[in-house]
Symmetry: C3
């Protein structure tokens, strides 16, 4: 695969993913009755948190989002939008979930590739791809004081991990950057969309929970 060269297209896709994630953070904040600042912070941490977590873990500090103002403007815009138009935006949740599946596919690709660039092995790099995809939502749920959604039966993390593993597996082939991204991200997004459509759930423990 050719060296990672974040082109304009990739930046636009990245910003779109951050925007969709931020909207979901803003909606959670509105439903918790947080003030405008809480809405902005939850929008920002949901949109950027996964990348921050990855960058802090792989030692790529300061995170990219702190060095490029476009990455900060997008969650602010999404947060204000969610704050003002939440009755409308909240009714579009199904459409947002579909866009969110594309964001997840995108983030698991860029997260895994950045971790490889920083010298991580294949398994840790795939994990970092998953962390990039799901980390923002986990921090959102922590700040909103609820058990992360991603742990509660929603089939969300597995597609991200699978997509990241495919990306890592293909990273050293002759395939172009965009082919690798399309295969890995496409697997993740398709799987996630099918899970939404068919109400697939992750397995929960069986038998009585001993106390």
């Amino acid at each position: 695969m050719a060296t990672t060269d974040p082109s304009t297209t990739q930046v636009v896709l990245d910003l779109l993913g951050i925007f969709v994630f931020s909207i979901s953070g803003a909606l959670v904040a509105v439903r918790k009755g947080l003030d405008v600042f809480g809405v902005l912070v939850l929008a920002g941490t949901t949109g950027l948190g996964g990348g921050f977590l990855r960058d802090v873990l792989i030692g790529a500090t300061p995170p990219a989002a702190l060095a490029d103002w476009r990455y900060l403007i997008v969650p602010v815009a999404a947060g204000l939008l969610g704050f003002v138009f939440h009755p409308v935006v909240g009714r579009m949740e199904r459409s947002i979930n579909v866009l969110d599946a594309f964001g997840l596919g995108l983030f698991c690709v860029t997260g895994a590739l950045k971790a490889l660039d920083y010298g991580l092995g294949p398994v840790p790099a795939a994990l970092m791809g998953m962390v990039t995809g799901i980390g923002g939502g986990m921090i959102r749920d922590l700040l909103a004081s609820r058990v992360p959604l991603v742990f509660r039966g929603e089939l969300y993390a597995t597609p991200a991990l699978a997509g990241a593993f495919v990306v890592v597996g293909l990273a050293h082939t002759d395939l172009s950057y965009w082919t690798v991204a399309l295969i890995g991200g496409g697997l993740c997004t398709t799987w996630r969309l099918l899970a939404i459509w068919r109400h697939w759930q992750a397995p929960v423990p069986t038998g009585p929970a001993s106390v």
Copy 2:
């Protein structure tokens, strides 16, 4: 502005800010019925957490507080004080809130200046100033398993962000370090004190929260 030179005065102010923040952490812990260790940890994370968060994000590891024993002694002393004298300290909450406003003003200044020193741009540096001011309280509330106070209508983060922006804006002028700090920190502290005095609140979302 002249180069950042943390003089004895600044260290004393810094330690005072950490002390006040730590007391507020210790009081939350006592009210949650935590044990002496929980009180000390909540005191420490509230006093030092904002600076830790900033240092980890901008790559300034290990954080300054881990390299200077005075920064560790202060939260321990504040935590023990809160643990033993909490019935007295708890009644002084209004005075503590006033001191806390001074701590907030101080931390937004030092946080923004340190981020600039590490090469961050103006907007991220101002954000890091805010994070330094409010991060400790956020970690305190996370560990105490409640939605961060700073999201619940209290006008707290906005003054910190405003003060940090002023500091960043004046950092490249000819003004002396102390003038910049006084203007930025003074704005933050004055605004916060007015918010306490006049019961100003941050706006909350209007209209029904769609579920």
Copy 3:
């Protein structure tokens, strides 16, 4: 003391400690009704979280566990075991608590020594030893949305801090690595086992909690 040389024995002990911690994370997740992914993540963060926290704070990124697949396989195995056999594993809790005390002793030693290696002073290094021992359990409780167990009267952190201080105090003597580890880790584990056996509790605040 001779230079830190993680031999095969130490790696085996380390993996055993991670395994025991991961089991406790998996059990908490099962009892909260989380899905299989939540069980795996709670197993992983409980087993590896303390070391991650220490490595991020001292600037040793990426954390060791991300550079060695054995450190990732162990929590996955422990998580799956907890997910499938939780009715059996849950009944073994007393035995797990005993093993956990050995894990705690081990982690406070390795955490303190690694922090010394990275140039931290004695007091911060001892704190990092404690963080390595208790950090995983704290992150587990945060993700499970409950106040960390370590704050609720359980005598857990104090033995870890004491053991870490002993290790730091002996690190510059002529004693061998294994002697230092045995004295420091032994103190921590013995104290913790006595606390389990005799139901020792950490002191809680006395007097009415002012509101």
